[in-house]
């Protein structure tokens, strides 16, 4: 009984598992059919190699239909996602190129149709639609404050202005500023303190006047 069971044991065969690198054609390019067949079996390396190899090809097809690079990239991603979702529908016995091309054309046509529909019923708003009738509301507040601050800085005494420029605008440390200006750290601290006080006062007066 035992002997008969052993006699039916099949002979051991050494099987070399194919790798993603084996899916190279003689000209050095990737064999997409083989890579897709392995991807269908769950080989992640083969799948990554396939998708990365497909991107330039799909981009060249999408580049003929879309002008903006962002649209081209969106189309490429759309095609990649469709390939991912219908990868079980690919038959490895058939060529991969026509299968991919048909999917790419279908996705690109869908995007072009969607764009046309959107253009037909949507209108881009220009910035003037968003402003108010009050004149100060349309002024750029950031530029206004920057100009006032620059003006106030010009009116500071030279030693205070130098301290502010070195410590605040150029972001030097107290030690670096002292070395550069030849003044003591304490003198710089006092000058900065007085400069900020003076600036605050000048800007306050300006806003009161306006």
């Amino acid at each position: 009984m035992v002997a008969s069971r052993h006699s039916r044991t099949p002979p051991l065969t050494l099987v070399i598992a194919p790798t993603a690198q084996d899916a190279r054609r003689a000209d050095g390019g990737c064999d997409w059919s083989k890579l897709m067949a392995r991807a269908q079996d769950g080989d992640r390396d083969a799948y990554r190699m396939l998708l990365e190899d497909l991107v330039p090809y799909i981009r060249s097809i999408a580049g003929r239909c879309f002008k903006r690079p962002s649209d081209v990239e969106d189309a490429v991603q759309d095609v990649l996602m469709t390939v991912h979702m219908v990868r079980h529908a690919y038959d490895p016995n058939r060529p991969f190129g026509p299968w991919l091309l048909a999917i790419a054309n279908r996705r690109i046509i869908d995007r072009l149709r969607r764009e046309t529909r959107q253009r037909a019923r949507e209108m881009a708003l220009s910035t003037e639609h968003e402003t108010f009738s009050d004149v100060p509301a349309n002024l750029d507040q950031a530029n206004f404050d920057e100009a006032a601050l620059g003006e106030a800085l010009e009116r500071l005494p030279p030693e205070q202005r130098q301290a502010i420029e070195m410590l605040k605008l150029n972001e030097m440390s107290l030690r670096e500023a002292a070395a550069a200006s030849g003044r003591s750290i304490a003198a710089l601290k006092v000058a900065t303190h007085r400069a900020i006080k003076g600036l605050r006062k000048m800007l306050q007066n300006r806003s009161d006047r306006s």
Partner: protein, 229 residues
């Protein structure tokens, strides 16, 4: 916006072994097997029309029935073929000859022998039973087709749904003619052509959306699993 290398990372990360689709002819055969089961159940439950023996001696009726079932079979094969992206669009013409024969036999029957009202026809009762047969045939076949062709939502939804609609319509008309004694010419027209136009029209109008809905229910999209904004 996700960058393409990031999307590839997400897709590769989410990949699992997939079961390849069987060849389209095998899948069409499976669907036709289900059709045969549905037809056998309907005939068993309702019984054949009483005058079936007499009808089978009429060449026009026999030709019409053969043409209807052939249209259904060929349209089913065409819809499974056309749902795959790399198959030719010309598969859409496969059921055309059988469809032409089917429509011409109905037209010929009406022109040569117009019977406005059948002598023993109980209109309301027969209409209700016809409607029940219509639903019992077309609903399970439509659901099976939607599930089997859900991936077509991304590829060729319009062509696939038109061919599926034609297949279901022809088989439903065949089933109606098999179990109901439709004698009046107008009734034959309504329950054959009317049903065919209704089902094929509904499939063309809503097939695309139905495929998309079924696909979203039955497949997990990478857009859901990845972090794509």
């Amino acid at each position: 916006m996700t960058k393409t290398p990031d999307l590839i990372d997400a897709l590769v990360e989410g990949t699992t072994p997939v079961r390849r689709l069987r060849p389209p002819l095998v899948r069409a055969a499976l669907w036709l097997l289900l059709t045969a089961v549905v037809l056998v159940l309907i005939v068993t439950g309702h019984g054949l029309r009483p005058d079936i023996a007499e009808r089978l001696r009429q060449p026009v009726f026999v030709l019409s029935m053969i043409a209807a079932i052939t249209t259904g079979i060929l349209a089913a094969v065409a819809s499974f073929q056309i749902s795959l992206p790399d198959r030719s669009r010309w598969w859409i013409l496969l059921p055309a000859p059988a469809l032409a024969v089917w429509l011409s036999t109905i037209g010929y029957g009406c022109l040569s022998d117009w019977v406005s009202v059948a002598p023993n026809e109980n209109r309301i009762g027969e209409t209700v039973r016809c409607f029940a047969t219509l639903l019992l045939t077309s609903v399970p076949l439509s659901i099976a087709m939607l599930v089997m062709l859900r991936y077509a939502a991304l590829l060729r939804p319009t062509e696939s749904s038109a061919m599926s609609g034609l297949a279901i319509a022809a088989i439903t008309a065949f089933s109606l003619s098999l179990v109901h004694d439709l004698d009046a010419s107008l009734t034959i027209l309504v329950w054959n052509l009317g049903v065919a136009i209704l089902i094929a029209g509904l499939a063309c109008l809503f097939g695309r959306r139905m495929f998309a809905w079924t696909a979203s229910r039955l497949t997990s999209t990478p857009a859901k699993s990845s972090n794509r904004p």
